[in-house]
């Protein structure tokens, strides 16, 4: 058997949009290899996710069970191994998510096969999978050849277009026993305190603050600006590490990759690891008191000035414009 197998990402019962992007990447590889495109979903109740995962798969494998929500590595591993055993694919693709960052490398080790994480370009040469992946925080692009059976890759979000919707030829339920309790047990899942405004990941506008704010006491400048714009709040890593805001707000390589129309970076220097998270932002505005800051090489518009003085006037004018 052969095929390119694409695992969709299910969040709270719905299909994560990035799943359809990975299907696009998978379809190109399947065409180049002359092999079928296969899909797979693992989750609690897959009814709506399976309807949304319309990647034109020749088969869509479904692994359902209560124990897949919340996520645990053991359960995801067992499910993926069962699907892979059922269809023996030559390439398997996954969304690059906080969960796949944990369990897919373990899957690679268990299957003793090649994996590259967080890929942005994928192609085939003969039977080899050839991928590009940003390294050194994004300052350098690496090209890698991936070998083994199957060859594995996780794919960065917001790089590929979502695939055109077309239904799967057939769905196949795969029965996977609940894994025996292991050495790791989930006690509970603690959601970050709900913040007002839109969620970072889906936000059209994001106001993001960095160390340049100078302290937690000044964080209200960011919140007020975000409220004025109806924007989500983001932050750089030092801000999350210092506990000014929960790390669920962190944008970047080790935080969330965001896809807004407008990203306002305030007091953020523009380190490559931060920029890695905003590569898909359409328009970037930077407010920074250092005209030489790297963020100005990514930003489309910039203000050189002290954010504590720029932001109040900016927010006031935004409110005015939005109410008129």
């Amino acid at each position: 058997m052969a095929g390119v197998l694409v695992f969709g990402d299910v969040i709270g019962g719905a299909l994560a949009p990035a799943s359809l992007e990975v299907a696009t990447a998978g379809a190109a590889l399947a065409a180049a290899l002359g092999e079928p495109l296969l899909g797979a979903l693992v989750g609690d109740n897959l009814k709506s996710a399976a309807e949304q995962f319309r990647g034109g798969f020749s088969s869509l494998y479904l692994v359902e069970g209560k124990h897949y929500r919340p996520y645990t590595a053991q359960a995801s591993l067992a499910a993926a191994q069962a699907v892979i055993a059922a269809c023996a694919p030559s390439v398997v693709l996954f969304c690059h998510t906080p969960e796949t960052r944990e369990w897919v490398p373990r899957l690679a080790a268990r299957l003793d096969t090649g994996l590259v994480t967080d890929c942005t370009v994928l192609s085939v040469e003969g039977k080899d999978l050839v991928v590009n992946k940003p390294v050194y925080g994004g300052g350098v692009m690496g090209e890698f050849v991936v070998r083994g059976t199957p060859r594995l890759a996780t794919v960065r979000a917001a790089i590929f277009e979502a695939c055109a919707a077309s239904a799967a030829a057939q769905t196949i339920a795969v029965d996977v026993p609940v894994p025996a309790p292991g050495k790791v047990t989930l006690i509970d899942q603690v959601e970050a305190a709900a913040t007002a405004g839109p969620k970072l990941k889906d936000a059209k506008i994001i106001v993001s603050g960095g160390r340049g704010l100078g302290g937690k006491d000044n964080w209200h400048f960011i919140e007020e600006t975000a409220t004025a714009l109806g924007a989500a709040v983001g932050c750089s890593r030092p801000v999350a590490d210092s506990g000014w805001v929960p790390s669920s707000h962190q944008v970047g390589l080790s935080g969330t990759c965001v896809t807004p129309d407008l990203y306002v970076a305030v007091g953020i220097s523009g380190a490559v690891q931060h920029l890695a998270g905003i590569s898909a932002a359409k328009t970037v505005v930077a407010i920074n008191n250092d005209a030489e800051a790297d963020i100005f090489t990514r930003a489309n518009y910039g203000v050189v000035g002290d954010c504590r003085e720029v932001l109040p006037a900016f927010a006031a004018r935004v409110k005015q414009l939005r109410s008129s």
Binding site: Y71, P98, R101, E102, A108, A109, R110, D112, G114, L115, T117, D118, V130, K133, P134, V135, Y136, G137, G139, V140, M141, G142, E143, F144, V145, R147, V184, T185, L186, I187, Q189, V190, E191, R237, D241, P246, S247, S248, S254, T256, L262, A286, F296, T297, R298, N300, Y301, G302, V303, G305, E309, V310, A313, F314, A315, A316, R317, V318, Q320, L321
Partner: protein, 262 residues
């Protein structure tokens, strides 16, 4: 509690792309003159957490690295911070190993070191951004692995309760030892080496091990690096002028209005 911390030495992640240099093979970043390589940031967090556990429970902290001879510097820093011993796997044949090769070499070294209760790794190395080696290591030693860990909430020497970051918060997990954790930067602020530590590091002997010392068989790479390409950005933002910061703020809002964002 006996803890092994894996320490990778990397080119300083703060070097901007415009200053990064590649060696003649085009496959390796070399630190530009005057900017010494550093201990991988998350590995420093892992070491700090190990030292805190040792201060609470006693036991031993061992730092383990794989790299060229210059990587001894980071292992010395580990000793200066408070690690009891350090070893380096410095076989030239392993320097270009993929994640599988590095993970297995680290596993073989840990078997040689002896028993352990906990292995702490960084969640990822800042040069590879791979986040893989810890899992190959865990699989080779057949222990559970949890990553990225932002907090060890409680520990009693037999099991830990840890916080694993998820997108919208964290999971609380009970982990039976022995186990491996991938440590994230939220967990702590690594200490600066105290004076007596620096002196201990000066005296420390760091043994170097070869693949043959570890009984490692050569294995074909599953992932092969073809080349690296530095990503330069040269564009420049259009700056919004104004006679005062407040005026600039107002002008920026007007600009965004004009562009249709407001």
């Amino acid at each position: 509690m006996n803890i092994v911390v894996t320490i990778k030495q990397v080119a300083d992640p703060n070097i901007p792309p415009s200053h990064i240099q590649l060696d003649p093979s085009g496959k390796r970043i070399v630190s530009p003159f005057g900017i010494p390589p550093v201990m991988n940031g998350y590995d420093a967090n892992a070491l700090e957490e190990a030292l805190r556990l040792k201060e609470k429970h006693g036991g031993k902290v061992t730092a383990l690295g794989l790299g060229d001879d210059s990587s001894r510097e980071s292992l010395k820093r580990a000793i200066a911070m408070g690690a009891d011993t350090a070893m380096l796997i410095n076989d030239p044949d392993l320097l270009n190993a993929d994640s599988a090769g590095v993970g297995r070499a680290l596993a073989a070294a840990i078997r040689k070191i002896g028993s352990f209760d906990l292995i702490l790794c960084g969640r990822q190395a800042s040069d590879t951004d791979g986040g893989q080696v810890l899992h190959w290591l865990a699989e080779a030693l057949d222990v559970a692995a949890v990553t990225p860990v932002a907090k060890i909430e409680s520990d009693d020497g037999k099991q830990l309760t840890v916080h694993r970051l998820v997108e919208e918060g964290y999971q609380r997990l009970r982990v039976e030892l022995p186990a491996l954790l991938g440590v994230s930067s939220e967990i702590n602020e690594p200490r600066f080496p105290p004076m007596r530590g620096t002196m201990a590091a000066g005296r420390a002997m760091i043994p170097g091990w070869k693949a043959s010392d570890l009984g490692l068989q050569p294995s074909a790479a599953k992932v092969e690096l073809r080349n690296l390409q530095i990503q330069l950005r040269t564009s420049k933002a259009e700056l919004i002028a104004g006679s005062s910061p407040a005026e600039q703020g107002t002008a920026l809002a007007d600009k965004l209005h004009e562009l249709g964002f407001i």
